[in-house]
């Protein structure tokens, strides 16, 4: 990703908007008693489009802001979202995204990874939580939501950062030359 001041401002605005929307809207709505989590989707999209470093730095920054707004111990969400962004970016650097369904599928997978990561951090800092069928169901439903929200989020991030994306595999159909008088 080519970072110009303009792109940097867009990135910062995107992350602030995503965190604000997460804590004031997505975390406070529920379908089938489960709230969507769009932050892993946004961070994974940034990783898939910008590479591992962009994903990791964006994830770390989003995590710090999230922890500040939640008045939670700093660093927990950062580690999880940084790992999510880094893994998404690594995937982008090693494989080519050929199918339209691949980004939402990957985003769903990375959201599941982030949910497991949140759990691991909670266990690491000594919170007594039990993995139950209910928690597993919630994590899977969150991943399903991420699949459906992943496509518009991926396209939105792609549109926002289009000038900065280096390798954008695009298949353009060549127009046949028009032969006059043929």
């Amino acid at each position: 990703m080519i970072l110009t001041p303009k792109i940097l401002v867009r990135l910062v605005a995107l992350l602030i908007l995503a965190v604000l929307l997460q804590v004031t809207f997505f975390s406070r709505v529920a379908l089938f008693h489960v709230s969507p989590d769009v932050l892993p989707a946004v961070v994974a999209s940034l990783g898939l489009l910008g590479g591992s470093m962009s994903g990791a730095v964006a994830g770390f920054s989003a995590g710090i802001l999230l922890d500040c707004l939640l008045i939670a111990p700093l660093g927990g969400s950062s580690l999880v979202l940084m790992a999510t962004g880094y893994l998404a970016g690594t995937f982008r650097e090693r494989f080519e995204i050929t199918s339209r369904f691949l980004p939402p599928l990957l985003i769903a997978g990375f959201t599941l990874f982030a949910q497991l990561g949140y759990g691991a951090v909670e266990v690491m800092i000594g919170v007594d939580s039990t993995v139950s069928a209910q928690i597993v169901k919630d994590m899977l439903v969150k991943s399903v939501y991420a699949f459906f929200l992943g496509w518009p989020i991926y396209l939105g991030v792609k549109r926002l950062l289009r000038p900065a994306i280096v390798e954008e595999p695009e298949r353009r159909q060549r127009r046949r030359p028009t032969v006059l008088g043929a």
């Binding site: 604000l20 089938f32 008045i71 939670a72 007594d128 039990t130």
Partner: protein, 282 residues
């Protein structure tokens, strides 16, 4: 050139990982840091504006959720209504008895909130995105007299307690959080125990340490016990409603009852909360 780039990337990644762990170690258990207070002060107006602007959209999505729920609950509620009608007659007599007893004990008849507490009303502006913790952030903080450990209620009953506080905001850890434990008693009957979240069932509670000899019936009310012993006392005042008993079963091996409690407060849809400031600190 390529090797240099790889080294730089590895260094950045290592810095981020180490930074994350250092921050976690330094800030864990400290409540709020100056960075969080600064960010909270800057973003507080934005959060409030976003909270108000997005309320109609939130209500719409939650309406779908409640509609799905309502279909399943409809038949169950009809049966419960029949039973409640039958109980209502007996309830009138119980209310009259209760009034007399309250007069005898010279308790404040109208007030659920005991004297000495000053309620501070705040609006929920932020909710944690993960199911692993049950926290919300409200838009009142130390500037409004809110302090860590203050109990928090809404119109239906006990919601939780303040676990971190900044100048204009405070984190409320809900009673369904895995770290929560509230001393409680069942009325009528006065059986005392500790209300904890039911492990593996987000949103429901379990009343522990109830002897199997004192059988607890369904629909009994659970309130805060609000004990005190010398200079030490519970952070929660007595008689704040918590929830109602939905099921009680005897665990043979432990000679205790497993009492499941449904909280009165709808902890997924919290808007306005009241922090009971003062009380236990004075």
């Amino acid at each position: 050139m390529y090797r240099k780039q790889v080294r730089r990337r590895r260094a950045v990644l290592a810095l981020l990982v180490i930074g994350g762990f250092v921050l976690l170690t330094v800030t864990y258990g400290r409540g709020s840091t100056s960075l969080q207070e600064g960010v909270s002060a800057v973003f507080s107006p934005l959060e409030t504006a976003a909270d108000r602007a997005l309320k109609p959209a939130r209500d719409l999505v939650n309406w779908f959720d409640k509609t799905f729920d309502a279909r399943g609950e409809n038949s169950q509620l009809k049966a419960e209504l029949e039973a409640t009608r039958a109980q209502a007659v007996g309830g009138e007599a119980a209310i009259a008895e209760n009034r007399e007893l309250r007069k005898l004990l010279e308790l404040d008849e109208g007030g659920t909130i005991p004297g000495g507490y000053t309620p501070v009303t705040g609006r929920v502006v932020v909710r944690a995105p993960t199911e692993w913790t049950a926290d919300v952030v409200i838009d009142v903080g130390s500037g409004d007299g809110v302090a860590v450990e203050d109990p928090v209620v809404n119109g239906d009953g006990l919601v939780g307690k303040v676990t971190a506080v900044a100048g204009g905001s405070a984190k409320v850890t809900l009673i369904t959080d895995s770290s929560s434990a509230v001393s409680a008693r069942v009325v009528p009957g006065n059986s005392q125990g500790v209300i904890k979240p039911s492990l593996g069932e987000p949103g429901s509670l379990t009343l522990d340490f109830i002897k199997s000899s004192k059988l607890i019936g369904r629909n009994r009310i659970v309130v805060t016990a609000g004990w005190s012993s010398g200079d030490i006392s519970s952070g929660f005042p007595p008689n704040l409603p918590i929830g109602e008993v939905t099921e009680a079963s005897v665990v043979e091996q432990e000679a205790q009852q497993q009492v499941h409690v449904r909280p009165f407060a709808d902890l997924r849809n919290l808007n306005f909360l009241q922090v009971l400031t003062g009380g236990w600190r004075e």
